[in-house]
Symmetry: C2
């Protein structure tokens, strides 16, 4: 059996999207691809590097040049929600591969007319931290509900979106003032 790097990345992304982070192991990925675990390491340095590429794919449909910070925040949340544990993976990768995180860069640009470079960066990170924290909690709860560990009905999307925008608008109002 043969695998390409592209197949590995595709497989990892699909595994994450539909089974979640706890199912995304190198061994299971290898099995899905019909190959021995060691074979993956010929195409990929290690799991961290693979996760970085997968995180970039999660963020792929986040627009490169969003119109305004408010819709950028909503787009970021939407992109993260499309993949199980999306926020957790992106948070993890953000720490050691900040360059993968296009949203921070895009938001940064939206603030450079209002702020100096330092504060534009801080403003962008404030939004991103909030969005990642909010969505991570949403998705963690969803995972626990799925696993039957927690039986609290997850809030309806209507209410979640409302709570989400409350925070976004507070931050943006504060940044504007």
């Amino acid at each position: 059996m043969k695998v390409t790097r592209a197949q590995i990345v595709d497989g990892a992304y699909e595994l994450l999207r539909e089974r979640g982070l706890s199912s995304l192991s190198m061994r299971r990925l290898a099995q899905d691809l019909g190959v021995q675990p060691g074979a993956l390491y010929y195409h990929v340095a290690n799991k961290q590097e693979l996760l970085a590429v997968v995180a970039a794919r999660v963020l792929a449909d986040f627009p490169a040049s969003p119109a305004d910070p408010r819709s950028a925040a909503q787009d970021l949340r939407a992109a993260l929600l499309r993949v199980r544990d999306g926020a957790e993976v992106v948070s993890f990768v953000q720490a050691y591969r900040p360059d993968v995180l296009t949203p921070t860069g895009a938001l940064n640009r939206l603030f450079t007319d209002r702020f100096g470079p330092r504060q534009a960066e801080w403003a962008a990170r404030t939004i991103v931290h909030y969005v990642l924290g909010f969505v991570a909690e949403e998705q963690n709860r969803a995972e626990l509900v799925r696993a039957g560990i927690v039986d609290v009905e997850p809030a309806h999307e209507r209410e979640s979106a409302e709570a989400f925008l409350f925070g976004v608008d507070a931050i943006l109002t504060g940044l504007a003032g």
Copy 2:
């Protein structure tokens, strides 16, 4: 050899504090306590439950009744920074044991005079999400530097505190407006 639940919790907390989350395994903890891994499960249901108790201890020196949201945010950050991976552990526990998270409750109370109960809750969560996200990134970077994976000099505490407060003040200004 005998262990008490208190010894297990103390040991887990110490292991986390000085060695970090990646060293906090049930097997290593058992070894530190001079006991077989299975023995732990007589005192603790599973690792998740143990982490919930440890997270509560991380937050133990967060004041129960902070004076104002700004100092509450700083106190929360300080409490998290005292323990390696403190933010990650608290974030993880927050999802399935929100009751352990006293900070949200304390912040909630500080907002109830300005807002209705729904919005006070949202306001509190906005702050907490931001703080957890900010500190998680700080600590993740610190871990990667320690591991030699990333060699970027971590920002000085002066600058980190400044960036942190920039976000806190933006959020609080927005909430006030």
